[in-house]
Symmetry: C2
Amino acid sequence: MGRRSDHSPDELRELLVLSGHALMGERGFAKFSAREAARRAGYSVGTIYNVFGGLDSYLIAINSRTFRQWGAWLEAALIDAPSDRAGRIEALVRAYFGFAQNNQNVWMAIYDHRIDRSIEIASEDDAAREGLTSIVDREVASTLGLNDNDARRLVRSLIATVHGHCALWLTGSYALLEEKDPAGQAVDRVLEILTHHLTPSES
Amino acid sequence: MGRRSDHSPDELRELLVLSGHALMGERGFAKFSAREAARRAGYSVGTIYNVFGGLDSYLIAINSRTFRQWGAWLEAALIDAPSDRAGRIEALVRAYFGFAQNNQNVWMAIYDHRIDRSIEIASEDDAAREGLTSIVDREVASTLGLNDNDARRLVRSLIATVHGHCALWLTGSYALLEEKDPAGQAVDRVLEILTHHLTPSES
DNA sequence: TTTTTAATTGAACACTGTTTAATTCCATGA
DNA sequence: TCATGGAATTAAACAGTGTTCAATTAAAAA
């Protein structure tokens, strides 16, 4: 069992997040077990409560790791993307789907974990979430002839549009059960929406 | 405790679905307990396994009830809706959101319950799910100048679009945290998309 | 070296879902 | 009317879970 000289507080925190994230990837949210995650890290459950204060905060930390990986995945995809607007949008949406498909369990865990509004999320975890939308902000909003606030709202609405397709697809929900290319549908919808928000000179 | 003369098999099935549905509404999927649902119906857990064969089938039956209520809610909203196309679409989307907001726990349980692909859903439960999309089919697809298959795909993509807004909103996800009128955003996106798929004479 | 302080554990508690032997009840036949 | 066969129902057992907290252990301070 772990001795406190084995790891600094930060190392221990990281170690637990790593083992928890790996377990989440194997089992998914429904079958996740904090006991098992601690066991695999070489510690006992209590340590998780010491380090994170509670299960919710631990799960938030695990999901934050997913958010950071997701952001990096999108950035990587944008490097190889074409330079025209439609091409970049398509690359972004397909990368969104690609990450979700290649990391189904941890991706879905983000939305499976319902956080009570009373619990406040640490600024570091908040940043991980914000990082993702800021990529889309940078990629989409700046090209639109809208004031900042309208652009912000539109970007978030576009994220919701893509999310809806991805979520219904990966959860195997009825609506998209027979759809062969959900990402393609999402791309089409996003581009259709965007043409409505371009100034004439941009279209 | 329940005696078998108290209820016919069908009545018992219905009784258990009712108590389970009520409990789901109170507690939500994460805190749902089959034991407690059976207890409130006046039976013990084992009865649920007898009647439904397993927890998954029980949850499917509970969610089917939600689907039927949801469908009825939409139909009711369409009766009072204006007769112009945009007005009816808006009424439909807002009713979609309205049901979800007024029945948060049971609505989310639909998507929280991940059904293993191996488990087959009874035709009755399938119909409950299909009923919902068929409402949108009837309301939207027939007005479009598309062949049947394209219209089907588009309708499902529109459902995914609305679902994404509703899901991110109700789960309190980051993207829509500050959005005051998520339903309005969904309506706008749907209408923007639809104008792309209308024949010139319809627009 | 002893004392203090903090990290870590392990056990207890009240719950789950799931299975199965035992019980209880009902309908049928004598 | 009463016994019996069979089906509905239960209770108990099992292996887990999250959560808390006294007891223990190890490192740091004195």
